[in-house]
């Protein structure tokens, strides 16, 4: 116990004297950033799955083209899952000689399991919330249908052969599927009426959705039980996996944050290792004395490691608290992208950062600390006796295994862990060698330089390893910051540049054929710039050369997305403007039965010229032969299509028209007039969507930068640690130089050179690396044009040099202020 008291006393003395300040700071940064990220990702995960459950309408959904086996429902019951099901299909409705393709949804009594329905009971009616769908014999309609079919509430509507009483207008359903263009107006009815409609014949295109909710464990169990029994046309979706668009962006950001926090941990770890190295070296003498006084090696080790454990516990606790606050900040930055209420955090995540702190301390501080164990008692007499350096495998092995564990925790994926680690290690080695080469080069050139420059650069070369770590730490942090800064700006710029000033900013969907002429005239009268009007038939690609498409795609590919929803099918006589023919020929004569396929989709599905494609529209099927492959640009803000047919192919099906047009800010009020005049038409304001996209991107990058500030701080701690490692030596040398007549100006100038070269080097390296990565990213992944940003090439190294000089010179200020007398006192 008295030993422990001694340890505590020594610790107290050392931390009071500032010996441990850097170590504590580095630890605080590592712990607070990892706590923040752990809490953030956990709360984000659970918030997102809550939301996703609502969007799915359930925790788990089976989609199937036919009713599923009764055994599946029994199994669900046994697991105490509550189930509901809906049946969805398209049907043409005819009333008062008007005809429209509607999307019918027949629901079971328990629907909706998650979320609510919103309805309105009058024309201008207020919305109200209900928790059950329509009763048997009644139907709820999209407001659009009422106006098109000239119906009002209380009328009857025939769905197939079954007349239904129209009782309510439906305005919201939680599990609405599909993209912007798939809004066929909704008819919601009870599934007890389904048989009577007579629509569900074998071969008709119907989707069954079986929805389940229950305990998380039971859901997982059910899913695992189900998976091997699914046939290729059936899918199971889980609120934890199948997420809406926004959350996939958040998800990616979360992963990126996780990886950046590893960066922080790594840099902080380097700082910890350096600070411990200095701590160790300063304790050689005291240790030798203790050994002389009879302490055993084991006891020495215990004495120091118990100090570090106490230090780690305290710093980690404080760091966790700081991390909690930081995480609140992260959610604040992202507040507009997230639901109002955020799921609470669990104790486990709160402890994660704490554990990381202890582990990082162990991983990075232990190897240098072990040297103290080896201090020889003889050192009391012969000061030059230094204990061996720690074994290389120990230093790097411990750090690497630690970092890989943390990467695994963020990725949950062995392959990704290995590749992130591999890429990381390789780039560290390459960069390290590069910096070493540069330093060697400087060393060679040193002879010809003036005294001042030699003194300055020698400061950099004196401690090669420390200089390399400093430059690495700063360049990597800068690269990460530059990347996140550039990517956001360039994506937004690229969008804005590519869109001509008067690019369409509105889409009009569901224009009826007889309205097209009116629309065109209105546009002309109001001087509205519009694109072409394209007819649209909603249909689904089902087979390629008589083989079901499901068998041709890999999961989550572009093709996979395209075959699980209705596509907008169109026809034109001539090739649309922004399209380019890549293979085959455009039809010249009236030649029904041909189709031109978009290039990327064709690649993803393996569609070739001459293939026969089968489509279903409503319950009918038709075939078309692939006559050409087109490439097109999706970001033109004009209607674009995967499938363009030759005129005449789609004549048998009801169609609506789509167009896009440009409204200047001053013309916005025309929108109201249009909406009033054409109530059945859906108008999308693209600028709102663009604005949302921009906010999304901005906030995500803000969140990422938030973390990179931690990395930057860690970088400065590395700088300070490196400065302190050499501080004693610097003071002696500075005093000696001044004894020989060097004035302070010279010494200060030399320091300035040392630190600005350090900053300049890491800045230039960072710019080089980030531009390389950006170039690869833009040309290979994002497909936007790469512009070198020259001003950054200048600014970043310059700014970095200034910042590092300031901090560095401040760190070594003692060198100038300690009187040279010191040197005579023999230290």
């Amino acid at each position: 116990m008295s030993r422990f008291n001694l340890a505590l006393r020594l610790l107290w003395r050392d931390s009071r004297s500032g010996e441990l300040t850097l170590l504590i700071l580095a630890l605080l940064i590592a712990v607070s950033s990892s706590t923040a990220i752990a809490l953030f990702s956990e709360r984000l995960q659970s918030t997102m799955s809550q939301q996703a459950a609502e969007l799915l309408g359930a925790d788990l959904v089976i989609t199937s083209p036919e009713f599923i086996a009764p055994a599946w429902l029994e199994q669900a019951q046994q697991l105490n899952l509550i189930s509901a099901h809906t049946v969805e299909f398209h049907s043409v409705l005819i009333e008062h000689d008007e005809l429209i393709l509607a999307s019918i949804k027949a629901i079971s009594d328990t629907y909706p399991l998650r979320g609510v329905l919103k309805i309105s009971e009058g024309d201008a009616g207020v919305e109200s919330i209900v928790h059950q769908g329509p009763e048997p014999g009644t139907a709820w309609l999209d407001r659009r249908l009422l106006s098109v079919l000239k119906l009002k509430l209380g009328d009857t509507l025939a769905v197939g052969e079954k007349p239904l009483l129209v009782t309510k207008i439906i305005t919201y359903e939680p599990d609405k599927k599909g993209d912007f263009f798939s809004f066929s107006p909704r008819v919601m009815m009870n599934n007890l009426d389904l048989l009577a409609t007579g629509i569900l014949q074998p071969g008709s295109q119907v989707h069954y959705y079986f929805q389940f909710i229950g305990a998380a464990q039971a859901i997982v169990e059910y899913k695992n039980w189900l998976k091997p029994q699914l046939n290729p046309s059936q899918r199971v979706m889980d609120s934890r996996e199948n997420r809406p668009e926004l959350s996939s962006a958040l998800n990616r950001a979360e992963r990126y944050l996780g990886l950046s926090s590893i960066l922080v941990i790594l840099i902080a770890g380097v700082a910890i290792a350096m600070a411990t190295t200095r701590y160790t070296e300063r304790h050689f003498d005291a240790t030798a004395l203790l050994r002389c006084l009879g302490l055993k090696q084991q006891e020495i080790l215990w004495l120091y490691s118990s100090q570090f454990v106490v230090l780690g516990l305290v710093a980690s606790a404080v760091g966790s608290a700081l991390g909690y606050c930081a995480q609140v900040g992260l959610f604040y930055i992202l507040r507009e992208l997230l639901p109002q209420s955020i799921a609470p955090a669990s104790i486990g995540s709160l402890f994660f950062g704490f554990i990381i702190g202890m582990v990082v301390l162990l991983g990075f501080a232990l190897p240098p600390l072990l040297r103290l164990k080896q201090v020889s008692a003889l050192r009391v007499l012969r000061r030059e006796l230094e204990p061996r350096q720690p074994a290389v495998w120990l230093v790097y092995g411990l750090a690497t295994s630690l970092i890989s564990l943390i990467i695994y925790k963020y990725t949950h994926d062995l392959k990704m862990t290995v590749s992130v680690l591999g890429v990381g290690i390789i780039s560290l080695i390459v960069l390290g060698l590069l910096i070493m080469g540069l330093l060697k080069l400087i060393q060679k050139r040193l002879d010809g330089m003036s005294l001042l420059w030699r003194l300055g650069l020698q400061g950099l070369l004196r401690n090669n390893r420390a200089s390399i770590s400093q430059i690495l730490a700063f360049s990597i942090t800068l690269v990460a910051m530059l990347l996140s800064f550039n990517v956001r700006n360039d994506i937004i710029d690229d969008w804005q540049q590519q869109l001509p000033k008067d690019a369409p900013n509105h889409f009009a969907l569901n224009i009826f054929p007889n309205q097209v002429q009116d629309f065109k005239e209105d546009f002309k009268q109001q001087h509205i710039l519009g694109s072409e009007f394209y007819p649209v038939v909603r249909g689904r690609l089902t087979a390629i050369n008589q083989i079901a498409v499901q068998k041709r795609v890999s999961k989550d590919s572009q093709g996979d997305n395209a075959i699980h929803r209705d596509l907008s099918l169109t026809w034109t006589e001539s090739l649309p403007n922004e399209n380019k023919l890549q293979a085959g020929e455009w039809w010249v004569r009236l030649q029904p039965g041909l189709v031109s396929v978009e290039q990327k989709l064709a690649e993803s599905l393996g569609i070739k010229l001459g293939d026969s494609l089968a489509f279903t529209v409503g319950s009918q099927q038709f075939n078309a032969r692939v006559a050409s492959i087109r490439s097109l640009r999706w970001d033109t803000m004009k209607p674009n299509f995967y499938m363009v047919f030759s005129p005449g192919t789609l004549d048998a099906y009801p169609s609506t028209f789509i167009t896009s047009f440009y409204l200047a800010e001053s013309q916005k009020e025309l929108l109201n007039a249009l909406v009033k005049k054409y109530p059945s038409t859906t108008i999308l304001e693209v600028d709102l969507i663009l604005q949302q996209f921009k906010t999304l991107l901005t906030q995500l990058t803000q969140a990422i930068n938030f973390l990179l500030y931690f990395a930057l701080m860690a970088g400065f701690i590395v700088l300070m640690a490196a400065v302190y490692v050499t501080l004693d030596q610097r003071i002696v040398e500075g005093a000696l130089m001044r004894t020989m007549g060097a004035n302070r100006r010279l010494l200060r100038a030399a320091q300035l050179i040392e630190f600005s070269v350090l900053g300049l080097l890491s800045g230039v390296l960072a710019v080089l690396m980030s531009e390389l990565i950006l170039f690869a990213l833009y040309s290979q992944v994002l497909h936007i044009s790469y512009h070198p940003s020259f001003y950054l090439w200048l600014l970043v190294p310059l700014f970095n040099a200034i910042l590092i000089s300031l901090v560095g010179c401040w760190g070594v200020r003692q060198v100038l202020n300690k009187p040279p007398l010191l040197i005579l006192r023999g230290l």
Binding site: M740, G741, R745, L821
Partner: protein
């Protein structure tokens, strides 16, 4: 009055009522008090005294490494008590050479670079030639590019001697230059020190515990508890 000014102008070092005291936790500690010294050009002086008597403190004041609490110091007729730290640094560079007990070579520089350093600090363009010549003179012609770590203690002290003499200083301060060496090596260093001293007509101020060595100097000054005796 006239004689005193004469003495001041003919002498390299003159001190008047020199005193040094420091504030410690136990109160004011008087390290040196009322030291009056006149050292003529070309003289060699040994400072002796018990450990803790203030020898190192005295030469650090004489060399302008520290400021006295009271009294005045004139080097070559100029009062250094009025100068600031950088002014004294410049004066040191012009006038003074040092040899220390623990050699004090810069570990990052080679033997040659260590010797060149004081000349380079002056902006002397012939630094390399002069330094090489002096290293030849001290018998280290073969070791020019060696780092201090690669040299023995005696060799390091010879490099330090070369560094001290390379600027042809008017005054050389040596604080127990053989304290870290065995007696034979020490004797060699002392030989070299006196030879170089004679060649350069340097004023030598030597702190030592060795009576034989003190006897070789023109004069011996004894310090006892911070006072001249």
């Amino acid at each position: 009055m006239k004689t005193q000014i004469n003495q001041v102008t003919n002498s390299v070092i003159v001190t008047e009522g020199l005193a040094k005291s420091v504030l410690t936790s136990e109160g004011v500690l008087h390290i040196l008090s009322s030291i009056d010294l006149i050292i003529k050009s070309g003289e060699s002086i040994a400072i002796v005294g018990e450990s803790g008597s203030g020898k190192s403190t005295l030469i650090s004041l004489l060399a302008g490494l520290d400021k006295p609490s009271s009294g005045a110091i004139f080097l070559n007729g100029k009062s250094i008590t009025m100068m600031d730290e950088d002014g004294r640094a410049a004066l040191r560079n012009q006038l003074i050479g040092f040899v220390f007990q623990s050699f004090q070579l810069l570990p990052g520089l080679t033997a040659l670079e260590n010797v060149m350093l004081p000349l380079e600090l002056r902006g002397d363009k012939t630094a390399k030639a002069a330094a090489t010549a002096l290293l030849h003179r001290v018998g280290l012609a073969q070791r020019l590019t060696h780092a201090p770590k690669q040299l023995s203690g005696g060799e390091q002290q010879r490099v330090a001697l070369a560094r001290a003499f390379v600027t042809r200083p008017a005054i050389l301060f040596a604080d127990e230059p053989t304290g870290n060496l065995d007696s034979k090596t020490g004797a060699n260093i002392i030989e070299l020190l006196f030879e170089l001293n004679q060649e350069n007509r340097t004023t030598l101020i030597l702190v030592t515990h060795d009576h034989a060595l003190a006897a070789r100097c023109h004069r011996t000054i004894r310090l006892e508890a911070g006072c001249l005796v």
